[in-house]
């Protein structure tokens, strides 16, 4: 590919995500109200993370897996008020999450309501996200905390989620109320944030090794290899899939790791990875971006076989050479 045809990511947007605060809109995201006295206990019994400890006003991200340890969905459990939870996922398929939880709701006093069509979500990402929220809404929301505030004629739920390893605050509010949605975003825009395009956010996500639904995780992968290890509490006891996941961890049976891949040409999501010369299969590419970093490097994510991982590992995909990056670095400054 000629250097002149490279499309660089928007440096202003990347800089906001890395050093300021970027606003990322979710056109479609799963937003579910889970209510009832048994709702939290049920989710604790079904999913990988410790949830009984999250009191009102706190949130925790967790993974719902099948009984064979494959990922159904990853969602944030926000304990909004007594017996009222809000479940927020990056997945566009709210029905999949709802039907999975509903299947296991048998004698429990708990109800699910899909708010995905009636509520809007956007995320404030970057080291200044909490400062922006305080300036716009007047509330301090620390990591893992949430607040419900009334502003611009709407009820706004603000949730800080540190589980992706970056400063990340989700804002959820009801759609309607005329221009309320626009007014809410305007509150933040006046605080100096930068709206980030989906393509730029995706490049940022890939560079940070942040897994996404139906790409890095899903029923094709277990949560450990998908980069979701931090969302698994190994001491909590039984949950759906626990036996399989505990065995994978205890006997070191995880065969792949999520890795950031660098190449000088664009790669194709879903394509196979090989050792140079096409000799041995080495994994699968899960996410790609058409944008490049400032220095013209294409970034992708892939599930790479651990046997072939090492510092400076070189692989191939469709005869394109790529390097397996160790760790994450800043997309805007290029520094580790």
């Amino acid at each position: 590919m000629q250097a002149s045809s490279l499309i660089h990511a928007d440096s202003l947007q990347l800089d906001a995500l890395e050093n300021g605060c970027g606003l990322v809109r979710w056109d479609r995201a799963t937003i579910v109200k889970h209510s009832g006295p048994d709702a939290l206990d049920l989710l604790h019994r079904l999913t990988t993370n410790e949830l009984l400890a999250i009191g009102e006003g706190r949130a925790q991200r967790t993974v719902l897996t099948t009984d064979r340890g494959r990922v159904v969905d990853v969602f944030l459990v926000a304990h909004v008020s007594e017996n009222q939870l809000l479940l927020i996922s990056d997945s566009e398929d709210s029905e999949r999450t709802i039907s999975a939880i509903d299947y296991y709701t048998i004698i429990e006093d708990a109800e699910l309501a899909d708010l995905s069509g009636s509520h809007s979500r956007f995320s404030l990402i970057g080291p200044k996200a909490s400062t922006v929220v305080k300036s716009a809404l007047g509330v301090d929301v620390g990591p893992g905390q949430l607040a419900v505030v009334e502003s611009a004629g709407a009820s706004i739920t603000v949730i800080s989620d540190p589980s992706r390893g970056v400063d990340w605050i989700d804002i959820v509010h009801e759609y309607d109320a005329g221009d309320a949605g626009d007014s809410i975003e305007a509150l933040f825009e006046s605080s100096g944030i930068v709206a980030v395009s989906p393509a730029t956010f995706d490049l940022y996500r890939i560079g940070r090794g942040i897994p996404a639904p139906d790409r890095e995780y899903g029923e094709h992968a277990n949560p450990i290899e998908s980069g979701l290890l931090d969302l698994i509490e190994f001491d909590k006891g039984c949950y759906v899939g626990q036996e399989v996941i505990a065995r994978l961890d205890a006997y070191d049976k995880v065969k792949r790791n999520l890795k950031v891949l660098e190449s000088d040409e664009p790669l194709e999501a879903g394509a196979a990875l090989h050792l140079p010369g096409g000799s041995k299969p080495a994994g699968t590419i899960t996410s790609t971006s058409p944008l490049t970093t400032e220095d013209g490097v294409f970034l992708s994510l892939g599930l790479v076989r651990k046997a072939f991982l090492g510092s400076g590992t070189v692989l191939e995909s469709d005869r394109i050479t790529l390097r397996v990056r160790q760790g994450v670095f800043s997309l805007s400054t290029g520094e580790m």
Partner: protein, 120 residues
């Protein structure tokens, strides 16, 4: 509490408890000083395989419970749980190697190592 393979044919529109299991239930109820009692048998979400058995001695059925009587013991099964339990035999295994109450559930396609949960 554990799960075993069904050893005999049980009508799929009911669940059964063996005489030994019924005797153990009566003993527990007497120990608890209960004159009126029944055995609630249900299923809840959770456990390694997704569905976990629930056993509880209670003083009567709830409104939506299916009521079955075996060996002088009333068994209460919530309607939503019955679909996962139809055809099950509940037994009791005691002694040094005993495992307590055992479910022989023909709907269980897979069980976890400790036997307290299953999937269908």
């Amino acid at each position: 509490m554990t799960t075993v393979s069904p050893e005999r044919s049980v009508p799929i529109n009911t669940i059964q408890i063996t005489e030994k299991a019924a005797g153990k239930v009566k003993q527990f109820a007497v120990d608890k000083g209960m004159d009126k009692f029944g055995l609630k048998v249900a299923v809840k979400g959770g456990g390694c395989s997704g569905l976990t058995y629930v056993l509880e001695i209670v003083d009567g059925p709830e409104a939506d419970d299916k009521v079955i009587v075996y060996h002088g013991v009333e068994v209460y099964v919530p309607k939503k749980a019955f679909v996962f339990l139809a055809g099950t035999v509940l037994d009791f295994s005691d002694g040094l190697n005993g495992k307590g109450f055992e479910f022989a559930n023909p709907n269980a396609a897979r069980t976890c190592g400790c036997g307290t949960s299953f999937s269908v």
